[in-house]
Amino acid sequence: MAFRVGADVGGTFTDFCLLDPDQAALSVLKVPTTRPDPSEGIIAGLLSLIKPNQGKRIKLDFFGHGTTLATNMLLEGKGARTALVTTEGFRDLLELRREKRPRLYDLQADKPSPLVNRRLRFEVPERTLADGTIIVEPDRERVQEIARTLAAEKVEAVAVTFLHSYRNPRNEQVVKEMLLEAIPGVYVCSSSEVASEFREFERLSTTVINAFLGPSVNTYLTNFQKRIDRLGLRTHSYVLQSDGGIVPLSVDGIAPVRLVASGPSAGVAGALHIAQRCGISDLIMIDMGGTSTDVSIAEHGRPRLTNEREVAGWPIKVPALDIVSVGAGGGSIARVDSGGHLKVGPESAGSSPGPAAYGKGGDLPTLTDAHVVLGSLNPQQPLGGSILIDRELAARAIRERVAGPLGLTLELAAQAIVTITFSLTVQAIRLITVQRGYDPRNLTLVAFGGAGPLHAGYIMRELGIRETLIPRYPGVVAALGVLTSDIRMSFRRTRILQALSENALELRVVFSELDEQAKDWAWRQGLRVRPSGLERSVDMRYQGQNYELAVPVGTGQLRIETDSLVSRFQKEHERTYGYRFDDAAAEFVTMCVTARIPSLELPLERLVARGASSTPFETRLVHFQGDGYVSTPIYRRNDLSPGVELQGPAIVEQVDSTTMILRGQEARVDEWGNLRLTG
């Protein structure tokens, strides 16, 4: 028996997806997330997954998981005792940041407190210039002295960041080697290996976070592997990175900072997989959970990446999925502000006390309460299979806190809560599409997470989107994502060059070096990259600008044609910003090579139609925006076989989610069991 398993660790539940290739069957499992060590829950879940097969020879071909460990450490400020070694005169960069204040009008706002105490920030006389010339070699005696202090101070991790090291890493390398030798056992990383890109504060921030997370993440990865080994399963373990790619679980191969946005990227990977199986490659994904909604897009089957994520107030210059997060989900609290407007979120009732309808002492109205009042959530059916809901408690909270102050009826107040929430998501979708040069009407919406399918109909109507896909199991898309992600690792380096043919050679040299770095990484992981698996791109801009756009350079054989790169850049600039300069010089800024090893195809079989009709199991009154209460047929998702077509208004219920189909919309069940909304 050779299984493949993907696990996604969420705030409340850890979800599993198990594939048995022999049976071509997927099964899913939810277990509570364990604290403080989520790997206990993962192991427990894994054990119960393989239990039915006890006695047989079990082999796990693949065991991948996404982890929120790095994110939580950063949010809670609980990392290693970290020191910084930097260029003389610059130890305060971590506090100076970019000199901006955190919030424009909020006089009480604070900057995030620096992850390295000022006493543990050390300066070394050394200097490299913008063109890479070293004018001062590192002062070796000073480095030795610092190493002694680091040892005396019992420092656990050290970040080495020198000016212009993206251009010439030599001084950093020298100092890193010296420190590794002088204080063995201490985690040391340099900025040129973690994020070899210009702009000193952003590179420094990334490197310091990497050091801050380093020791704990490494311990976690090591222990995790040991526990898996102890189960006697011969397996390859993998972990999901912030860019939505998975990498073999190994201490040497993973920069801890690359795991910081691992959590939300699993859902994107899963949604993308589901969409691609249906032949959809340009899409908007909304993952709507209890406290927030993540919005992202993909083009030609590739998710959009960014290099400008911030976590806990710190810029992180490693590739991550471009996700816009909105502080609104099922548990978000609705309130009327002093100007008489209704607001939803970002405060959340969480799972305890939870929405008023849970009857666990919460008396503030939430989005979930609004849906209970409107009838879109089944008052008889327990939520998520376990929580009983009380419509009267939901109604009371909305009446007292929203309907009363606004002078609205209960139903209109509840509908207003829903409208405000999906409007926030619509705004986020506009931000991530229109602002980046995409027209949402040409994309397919994929809505998942517990609350996504409840709002998809309204969102598509608002944006003029023609088709929406609701996955068969909207609640476990993330776990599926871990199972289906490609292995991916990217390598980046800044080298600012004019985009002229005489610089083609230098560009070529940088790319060949990055190619080698990528192949070498794969080799050390015991993997092999095909030539077509080396994906190259270069970030370009007009000379004088300071933000770049990524231009693909091609895979396979390395060919550099500067003219065609420039014209591709011009096109991309026009698409993104609406105009181009034909006479302005362009520049190459940062080169990127990504090693990609495609995941195995899931050998799933298409579902067989069991007759194209289905009858609702009940009819109840549900309130729709603009239509008021409508007698609405309610279907069970499990009863719907491929080919079934439903006319809105209708509601489709399943254990992990509820889908709302509006009047004028149609839903069809496809051969994979997904719901396809149109209209």
Binding site: G89, F90, R91, D92, L93, E95, L96, R98, E99, K100, R101, R103, L104, Y105, D106, L107, Q108, D110, K111, R118, R119, L129, A130, L163, H164, Y166, F198, R199, E200, F201, D337, S338, G339, G340, H341, L342, P405, L406, G407, L408, A416, T419, I420, S423, Q427, R430, L431, V434, Q435, I496, Y542, G544, Q545, N546, Y547, Y577, G578, Y579, F581, A584
Partner: protein, 589 residues
């Protein structure tokens, strides 16, 4: 039935919220395009620009959260356009450019505004505008923002409201005119193009909105969106203690010999649902560039009111209705031609400090101590590697004032500005300059029960001969004031600007002065810390110890300013008690 209930029966408040947020998003997107496509370091790296949406009458509907003082660039914009061109002479595809503060546009000549009308079904619905700080618009000194100018004619090109696009056609003659007057014409061309692109984005977003909801619905909700902000600020004002509160502070003169220092004087009156700011008694306008025009004063007051009363009020003209400002014509805060205005941030920041000093008497927990301190450094010359002129325009932040229960932020842009610094790696790549030191300045934070944030020391070495320095320094003599017993921020005795500090012959310079620089010169800039809040002798000794251990306060200052004796990294309790008792006796307590 309450007023809230009556209103909601007329218009759907949910749709107002949706449309209002759409306006904000459109403004933010214009700003985003401007920063992404801007050419000069000042816009692309420092984001020294803003964007806004106005209704057809010129009231601000939404302002992107960039630089509050830029609001002043636009308060009179639409009225100016409508005065000059009747509305039937304004057409789709038109775009306007202007920078003259005395025509009601802008608060200094560097801030060039580009504005465009938005039509829907042939009806003038709104205007969109964006403002970019151009790093050189000509005039006597490079960077066009010297503290030394005596009248506006020295400060650069003045643009009345002009067409930069007519029915979709670019007026390249106007672009050329602007470029020709700048020391760095290429940058001007690039930045102006980015501004035009940003305006186009704004026009298409608002047009889409009108198409989605119909012009009538949009107009109705536009009005209601203003009403919402007005209700919110009035609600906040209603809870304040009514009365009259007074405050004043000094505005330094750049040339101490020739002119005496000016003063800003304020009477703040809290009424039932209004705040009245009366600046009577403020000094007459000066023969230097620290004057501000009325629109700059208004945007400063609007900023302060929002920050103090309700930071989350949508930034639109609705809340301006609850604010009354009186400022004598011809005074420092309501200048008339030909007063120079380039260093307007200087006085705007001081105005906010004075407002805080008045407001702390109303609500001590909301105000923050003085933040007046910034060094604007402009270094210009010719880059010999390519023969091109360069203007390195950079402002360096000071510390922010302490709060009632928290220390001030170190090295941060204050109040009416919020641009970024220029990364050193960008600066050294773009200009013949090497930065040799950039760090927090020990002992610069104003002592207080809560300490002011620290200022900065930044050393830059020149790699070219025949360079020039201009700019201005705020807080050189009077850094941000303390509140409730707190002390002003501090600077080293040399002041804000020193040439060749670590050489045998350091030279103290006037931070607002004009100097010729040589290759190898090192300019050291010191910026002051923010003011302290509360009596420093009541600061927790542990907080003083932490500051000393982190090197933010020296052992000596701990003893003198805070009465805390620290020996070998530990608090000496006996001596601390003694020092603090002595202080109390000296003060007659």
């Amino acid at each position: 039935m309450s007023s809230l209930q009556r209103r909601s029966s007329v218009l759907d408040p949910v749709l107002t919220e949706v449309i209002g947020n759409y306006f904000l998003a459109a403004a933010e997107e214009m700003g985003h395009v401007l920063v992404r496509t801007g050419y000069s370091s000042n816009i692309k790296e420092r984001a020294d620009c803003s964007a806004a949406v106005f209704n057809a009458q010129g009231e601000t509907i939404a302002q992107a959260s960039h630089i509050p003082v830029h609001l002043g660039s636009t308060l009179g914009l639409v009225q100016g356009i409508l005065r000059k061109y009747r509305s039937r002479d304004i057409h789709p595809g038109d775009m306007f450019v202007a920078n003259d503060p005395y025509a009601g546009i802008g608060s200094q000549l560097n801030d060039i505004t580009v504005a465009a009308p938005v039509f829907s079904d042939g009806r003038l619905m709104a205007f969109v505008a964006n403002i970019a700080h151009h790093s050189d618009v000509g005039g006597r000194f490079p960077g066009s923002e010297s503290g030394e100018c005596e009248h506006i004619y020295e400060e650069g090109i003045r643009l009345p409201i002009l067409h930069i696009m007519e029915r979709g056609q670019l007026r390249s003659d106007v672009v050329e005119l602007i470029a020709l007057n700048s020391r760095v014409p290429k940058e001007r061309m690039g930045d102006i193009k980015a501004q035009i692109a940003a305006s186009m984005t704004g026009v298409s977003r608002i047009t889409e909105l009108c198409r989605r909801y119909t012009p009538d619905v949009v107009l109705a909700h536009m009005g209601e969106w203003l009403g919402y902000s007005e209700r919110r600020i009035k609600e906040a004002i209603r809870h304040l203690r009514k009365g009259q509160y007074y405050a004043r502070d000094i505005v330094e003169s750049p040339r101490e010999e020739s002119e005496k220092e000016a003063e800003i004087s304020l009477k703040l009156e809290v009424k039932e649902n209004k705040l009245c700011f009366d600046f009577s008694g403020t000094s007459p306008q000066a023969r230097n560039s620290r004057n501000i025009v009325l629109n700059a004063l208004l945007s400063t007051v609007y900023y302060a009111a929002k920050a103090l009363l309700d930071p989350d009020i949508p930034p639109n003209a609705g809340y301006f209705r609850a604010i009354e400002v009186h400022a004598p014509l011809g005074s420092l805060v309501n200048a008339v031609p030909p007063a120079a205005v380039a260093a307007r941030v200087h006085t705007c920041q001081r105005v906010v400090d004075v407002i805080m000093a008045a407001f702390v008497q109303v609500r001590p927990d909301a105000a923050i101590a003085g933040c007046a301190g910034t060094k604007l450094t402009i270094i210009a010359g010719i880059d010999s590697t390519n023969g091109e002129p360069f203007v390195d325009y950079e402002s360096i932040a000071a510390g922010l004032g302490a709060r009632a229960l928290k220390d001030g932020l170190d090295a941060c842009r204050a109040h009416v500005t919020n641009s970024s610094n220029l990364p050193i790696e960008t600066l050294e790549h773009d200009y013949p300059v090497i930065v040799t030191r950039y760090e927090l300045l020990t002992d610069s934070g104003g002592p207080g029960r809560f300490r002011g944030g620290l200022g900065v020391r930044k050393d830059s070495k020149l790699l070219e001969d025949k360079c020039e320095h201009t700019g201005w320094g705020l807080g050189n003599k009077y850094p941000g004031c303390g509140l409730v017993g707190g002390v002003r921020g501090r600077l080293p005795s040399a002041g804000m600007l020193v040439r060749n500090l670590d050489s045998g012959s350091p030279e103290i310079l006037d931070p607002s002065g004009y100097y010729r620089l040589r290759k190898g010169d090192v300019l050291t800039v010191f910026t002051p810390g923010g003011g302290g809040f509360g009596n420093p002798f009541e600061r927790e000794p542990e907080s003083v110890l932490r500051d000393v251990l982190e090197g933010k306060v020296s052992v000596k200052a701990a003893e003198l300013d805070y009465g805390v004796a620290i020996v070998n990294g530990k608090i000496n309790l006996d001596r601390t008690t003694l020092l603090r008792a002595k202080k109390q006796m000296a003060e007659g307590g």
